[in-house]
């Protein structure tokens, strides 16, 4: 269990170290995942429609 928690923390630190544009793309992916759930709850959300480069 301790190993799992450490691995999880390591991943979060890795994510924190990503370049800003990569983090923005990750945020948009999060938006896409969560938007259907929020809309089902009656919340209006808009997934960003931004250019996605590699």
């Amino acid at each position: 269990m301790a190993r799992l928690l450490t691995a999880k923390e390591d991943r979060r630190r890795m994510l924190a170290g990503l370049p800003f544009p990569d983090k923005v793309r990750a945020v948009v992916r999060l938006q896409r995942m969560v938007a259907p759930v929020l809309r089902a709850r009656g919340r209006e959300v808009r997934v960003w429609n931004i250019e996605e480069s590699a």
């Binding site: 945020v27 969560v34 960003w48 931004i50």
Partner: protein
């Protein structure tokens, strides 16, 4: 998001805003793991507003003239809902003045310093702000001396 930032830079060059910097969850994301948000908070200083009543009308008119429409409290600029937040107290004014110059892809922009983001979160003190404080303390490289002085100056404490 780069096209959005170019529009913000154009607004500043044209004098529609005196200065801007990214704040809120996207600014925090610059320093920590990606955080879910649906809008881009942009703190601004409006021209000629020292002691005057703040109005965003000239800003919204300038954006409408370029085809960017308001959507509730945001303006959709190149696919990103931007919420403009005029500097509303001394802490935010200072945060804007000291914001970091960064390059996003090939476009310069500004992001509030992590220490100011933390202080603003302490000041606002909603549940999600307390979570932001926790994340910044865990993952951001904070200048502890700078933060300590900043907190004292604005009457805040961790």
């Amino acid at each position: 998001m780069e096209r959005t930032l170019r529009v913000l830079n154009d607004l500043e060059r044209a004098g529609v805003v005196s200065r801007y910097a990214i704040g809120g969850a996207m600014a925090a994301t610059f320093y920590v793991e990606p955080v879910l948000t649906f809008d881009l908070d942009v703190f601004i200083v409006l021209p000629g507003t020292s002691g005057a009543l703040l109005t965003l009308s000239p800003l919204y008119e300038a954006l409408r003239a370029q085809g960017y429409r308001e959507e509730k409290e945001c303006v959709n600029i190149e696919g990103v809902p931007v919420q403009f937040l005029p500097a509303y107290n001394a802490l935010v004014e200072e945060a804007l003045a000291e914001a970091r110059e960064v390059i996003y892809e090939a476009t310069p922009t500004r992001v509030l310093r992590a220490e100011h983001l933390l202080a603003i979160a302490l000041q606002t003190d909603r549940a999600k702000d307390r979570e932001r404080v926790r994340l910044l303390r865990e993952q951001a490289s904070l200048d502890s001396d700078y933060l300590a002085t900043l907190l004292v100056r604005h009457g805040l404490a961790l």
